[in-house]
């Protein structure tokens, strides 16, 4: 375009017409620093690995091994009829574990239904984390006590909650950060858009972690978005987007920790896209062979988060047989305890159905509670 193309031809005697920008327009922010790197950030197998403390690597390793065992145990519990359903995070343990470890105790975690492991890695009792999926209640823990929001089933609807909580904390002067977890499919939801927009406008101390595991049940990312990457979506909201190898535990941990620190410093939200893969089907009720090929899964098994970290630890002489055995033993102990406690029938009180609908029970609900009580009493007499 010629430089003078915005002016009309100046004829002799004519008044020069030089358009100016629209009056309300002014330049806003430079998008360049917000752009994600062209490739996912990695630590393992790169020069950055040397600077990661061995203690952190070993901590991540123990948690990954425990997380994998948790996933296999929970999946087994579905087959035994002890869980109604289990959306496995096998293959995604690095994201789940790093999310938990990146937070301080006062911070809040906003998990989706696939993120029970993140809650467990944060210290929540696995039985409490699995209450929703067992079906004896919806949320099996006190969210305020653990600073873990209820596992959220309607996709991306927990994201604005995280923004609101972080915003409220900031208004109160508390240096609390909220970490909100969502999948690639969830990024298509309107609540994803609204949450990111509110977070950026309010500079809320919140971090969005998108685990791009390749599929929304059966639908691949190509049918989900035409964006260059999910991390690129951050730029449109005026926040930085980061792209990270989601199976590289120290890399995810580092990127998350940086974003959490940034939020805590009052510099606003970050969107992180972690590239990972859902090794298992969507849930035990899903048949993944209908929409993906085995060779793809095999390629990802080569890039397994535990395997990648083991290679690093072994290469640095940090993983002897005893350390490995200790991690395995701890994971087995967790699984045995989980199995044993989940094999006991939960104690149910049908009257709980009316206990928490409102702060004060209405006369209508009292009538219905009385009806159920009478039915239960009649059942008891029949036995």
């Amino acid at each position: 375009m010629r430089k003078s193309s915005m002016t009309v031809q100046e004829l002799p005697g004519a008044v020069a017409y030089r358009p100016t920008p629209p009056p309300a327009w002014k330049p806003r922010i430079d998008p360049t620093p917000l752009l994600p790197d062209p490739e996912p950030y990695r630590v393992l197998g790169t020069d950055a690995a040397a600077s990661v403390a061995p203690e952190l690597l070993l901590k991540l390793y123990a948690q990954l091994v425990r997380g994998r065992r948790y996933n296999t145990q929970a999946t087994a519990l579905t087959k035994q009829g002890r869980l109604a359903v289990y959306p496995s995070s096998t293959g995604q343990e690095a994201c789940e574990v790093a999310a938990a470890l990146a937070l301080e105790e006062r911070d809040w975690l906003f998990p989706s239904y696939r993120d029970t492991l993140a809650a467990v890695a944060r210290g929540l009792d696995p039985v409490a984390a699995l209450t929703l999926l067992r079906g004896d209640w919806h949320t099996g823990y006190d969210p305020r006590e653990h600073r873990i929001a209820p596992l959220c089933t309607p996709l991306a609807t927990q994201l604005p909650h995280a923004v609101g909580l972080a915003h409220a904390a900031r208004l109160k002067g508390d240096d609390v950060v909220a970490l909100a977890m969502v999948g690639d499919g969830g990024t298509s939801e309107g609540d994803f858009h609204e949450a990111l927009n509110f977070a950026a406008v309010w500079r809320a101390p919140v971090v969005f972690l998108v685990q791009n595991n390749g599929f929304a049940i059966s639908v691949p990312l190509a049918k989900q978005t035409a964006a260059p990457s999910l991390a690129h979506k951050a730029v449109g909201y005026g926040m930085p987007g980061r792209l990270v190898d989601g199976n590289d535990a120290p890399a995810v941990h580092q990127v998350l920790t940086e974003a959490v620190s940034r939020a805590r410093r009052g510099e606003g939200p970050t969107l992180i896209e972690a590239i990972t893969y859902r090794i298992d089907a969507h849930t035990n009720a899903d048949d993944a062979t209908r929409y993906r090929v085995a060779s793809e899964i095999e390629a990802w098994r080569e890039h397994d988060p535990i395997r990648l970290l083991e290679q690093e630890l072994t290469g640095r002489g940090l993983l002897d047989d005893d350390t490995k055995q200790a991690a395995t033993d701890a994971a087995e102990a967790m699984a045995a305890d989980l199995r044993q406690r989940m094999n006991a029938d939960p104690v149910l009180d049908p009257m709980d159905l009316f206990a928490h609908v409102y702060a004060e029970r209405s006369s209508q609900l009292q009538e219905q509670a009385d009806q159920l009580r009478a039915e239960l009493d009649a059942e008891g007499e029949e036995r």
């Binding site: 949320t139 309607p154 309107g190 509110f198 409102y358 006369s363």
Partner: protein, 339 residues
Amino acid sequence: MTTAAVQPAPVKPATMAQALQRAMYDAMADDPTVHVLGEDVGTLGGVFRITDGLAAEFGDDRCTDTPLAEAGILGTAVGMAMYGLRPVVEMQFDAFAYPAFEQLISHVSRMRNRTRGGLALPITVRVPYGGGIGGVEHHSDSSEAYYMATPGLQVVTPATVEDAYGLLRAAIASDDPVVFLEPKRLYWSKATWSAQDPPEVEPIGRAVVRRPGRSATLITYGPSLPVCLEAAQAAEAEGWDLEVVDLRSLVPFDDETVCASVRRTGRAVIVHEATGFGGPGGEIAARVTERCFHHLEAPVLRVTGFDIPYPPPMLERHHLPGVDRVLDAVARLQWEAGS
């Protein structure tokens, strides 16, 4: 718009709009956890000026102009409530509240229940509703039945200036989420109340008899109360002494007050703007029939909006229940067969 309404001393006589503003003003002054958020609620004071002056008095952090996104407004309010705040959310118009529906149904209404009381959400969702103001499409819906059908929500609607104040204070003070429906055609209705003596704050859930009578009961709420009172006045000429019950609270529902009235009169007509089919009147008629069957001299009748999408403004008068339609229904209450 001036900031006259900011002053704690209320204007005399006050409009319903001013009473609502005063309720929020007082609630914010009494409780620092009360936050107002919505579209245009700050600098502008809301499109109906209900939040006029709140941002000026309490600051932008307490009365916040949000991005234009209702799910985001209510969704962030959920998080704010989780952290101990008491958000008062303004939905600009009834039909603009629908984008927030998922947050309301899937989270707001059931958070207490799913967490066994761990996370109560004391959120007030203010929704201007109903017709009669000449609004173009999407500005006049009566959406109360949607909210009533959702367990975990309280649904209230004032019909008088005093109740606008008292019910909104009660809604904000409630530890449960409240859908607060504001009859927008009554925003400019007036009443006198004293600055030293703001209207009483009653707990949510009580209906009130606005006009005692012995012949039949008109059961109504919100924008239809003035219609019913006018109909009751006109009915005197026909020899009918009509009782008028203002529900005020749709959820929880005051069976006691409603049924006591119907048992006295033996006849009932339910009047509301919302559609008849699937509307609140069906539920109310069923409740009254179940509880007062042996006292009824005639079937419970309903006078409601037609079962049509809300009409364009030049036709809305044909849709809205008016005095004549109410009197026609009263005339059909089987007077010959009864007492």
